[in-house]
Amino acid sequence: MNNSTEKAEQAVTIDISGYDVATAEIRSEAKRLLTEKIVDAVVGYQAGRRKGSAVPVIITDPAQAEKLLFSPACVNNLSIYLTKAKKEIRAKGKLAVVAKGCDLRALAGLVGESQFKREEVVIIGVSCAGVHRAGIQPGEPLTNSTIAKKCRECSVHIPDEADLVVGKLPPLPDLPPKEKELMEKLDAMTPALRWEFWKEQFTRCIRCLACRQVCPFCYCEQCLCDRGRPQAVDTSPRPSGNMGWHIVRAMHLAGRCAGCAECERVCPMDIPLNLLNRKMAEELKELYHYEAGMKPVEKGPLTSYDEKDDQSFIK
């Protein structure tokens, strides 16, 4: 983060008192769902060893419901546990999942892509004021400097489309968007300079594929980029293959990415991956008035068309 920008912004602490309410409600709901055998497992968050941390957990025993919580450390998008990439979780039976607004959008997308049926999953929505950004020591208070970038621009603090919504939303401070600003800066550059920027970003990629693995939409049985014959992109963690990988990934997510920004959060090399996804989302909004929403849609922008679509770029 650019320190000067940080300093220019007045320190603002975000009220997270509603998270305790959420924690309590999640626990009682999970307990009920498991006890009444409405679901076989609940995917939620529990505390990690590190103080103030939270990690995903899958509980099957109502007694364990007390472990569940909600805090600014609950950064994960748990919808990945409902995808086919995590078959062992789905094998447990009917699931309930704790979801923030951003996560719910991914869930809606997954329903649209036939990954599960809406009625198969109980969604416990959380009224969310925001969560930590990457690289924050667990337990730090949630402030304008520790909050994730996506939360600054969040439009879905309350996931209305969930089966129930827990917690309560305090009044939220108005935080200026950062990602948009950055995108505009990049847009203003010459293509050559942008290329330099992304080249620098991608060349340090180590192809740990954390971005892919946490992405709710990267649920393919076999990733195109893991494929040998033919090899779409080089698998070696080198600039050439990395560039290919990130372009293919951005393209595959275009029109699908729901904006949870998990890819960017988990990147050990701090590559601003969500910037690409955001850019694609902006373009799709402008071209086809499409925005990832809370409700499943039958066809995404790239699996449908309109005869009147823009074609000014075609000779």
Binding site: A54, N76, G135, I206, M269
Partner: protein, 350 residues
């Protein structure tokens, strides 16, 4: 008497080395992180903070060409990599958890098959370790038998001094030899006051007992409990100073290309995927179990060493908060009551 070097001279040393044509790999600031990178000048050196990635890349790069090929009418023409062209390298400012790792890995790379690429680089490298003066809640070197002041793996070992500069301890002959090239940069001091090392917090574990426990608990619900959440990325392995699995891939076309050695990670679902489509480690927790077993049991079985230096990187960067320190502590706790009986044999990953 202690050998010392000022901060300034340390940087000068870098400059000299670079000038002499050596590759000096050391911590360097890049954006918000620090990484081990070849330095172009002493000014770039940023000692003291734990770099994002480990130093193993100095010997075991993310990706390297091991041969290149060209197919013509006359047949296949293969060109080998000239290991003699590998640069003389000084790994400077490696914290004990990173400095110790190569020594752990030496065993596997010179076992039944001698990996000339790794070994040649090792032969050409001098490691200058650095005492660790900052630790966080993810650090656990002390739990795996190391310490912030451990010189294991280092040829020379620097300890930051309270008034600035470093004391320099000669650990190996190679270190001594290296030192001989730059006597003017070092000084002798009668007494030195080191900056106190950072001892990470944690519940000590008995690694032998942990190993015994693991032998008996190949099947255990703990694996599901701690690793069902694993999403199968390679962040832990790729940041780990000791993980050394690699994959061989051919790149290019059938006509020409290169064979490359790329890092691999046991968390990847295709890691043990058989050609038949069968995967013995079909779910993520089994893959994590393998990772843990490899570090604390299999490697020890084979080479008598623990394959973990406690750097804590995998904890910090695990997308889903899988915490090897916590798991080790938990198993350590459970293992206290374990009796020393003969464990199961398990196939090693090679």
């Amino acid at each position: 008497m202690a050998l010392t070097i000022t901060e300034e001279n340390l940087r000068k040393l870098v400059d000299r080395l670079v000038k002499d044509g050596a590759r000096v790999v050391g911590p360097k600031v890049a954006g918000e992180m620090t990484v081990y990178e070849p330095l172009t000048s002493g000014a770039e050196l940023a000692p003291g903070t734990l770099p994002r990635r480990s130093a193993k890349e100095a010997f075991f790069p993310l990706s390297e060409t091991i041969l290149s090929f060209q197919k013509g009418k006359e047949g296949l023409k293969v060109e080998d990599v000239d290991t003699n062209a590998f640069p003389r390298t000084v790994l400077l400012g490696a914290l004990p958890c990173d400095a110790a790792a190569p020594q752990v890995m030496d065993a596997v790379f010179s076992w039944d098959y001698k990996d000339e690429f790794y070994l040649e680089r090792r032969r050409r490298t001098v490691i200058v370790g650095l005492s660790c003066t900052s630790a966080d809640d993810s650090c656990f070197c002390t739990l795996v038998g190391l310490a912030p002041t451990d010189t294991m793996g280092s040829d020379l070992f620097l300890t930051p001094l309270a008034g600035g500069g470093y004391s320099c301890q000669v650990v190996s002959d190679r270190g001594k030899e290296f030192l001989a090239g730059y006597p003017e940069l070092f000084a002798e001091a009668a007494t030195v006051t080191p900056v106190p090392p950072a001892e990470p917090e944690g519940t000590p574990v008995d690694l032998a007992k942990v190993k015994l426990w693991l032998e008996e608990h190949f099947e255990d619900e703990i694996w599901e409990e701690v690793a069902d959440r694993c999403v199968g990325c390679g962040a832990c392995a790729f940041l780990c100073p000791a993980c050394h699995c690699f994959d061989i891939v051919d790149e290019g076309t059938e006509q020409s290309g290169s064979r490359r050695k790329n890092w691999d990670a046991c968390a990847f679902s295709k890691f043990t995927n058989h050609a038949s489509g069968h995967n013995p480690r079909d779910v993520q927790n089994k893959r994590y179990r393998n990772r843990f077993m490899h570090k604390f049991k299999y490697y020890d079985d084979k080479f008598g060493k623990t394959l973990c230096t406690g750097c804590g990187r995998c904890i910090r960067y695990c997308p889903v908060g899988i915490d090897i320190k916590g798991i080790l502590e938990e198993i350590g706790k459970k293992a206290l009551s374990t009796k020393d009986t003969k464990g199961h044999e398990e196939n090693h990953h090679g």
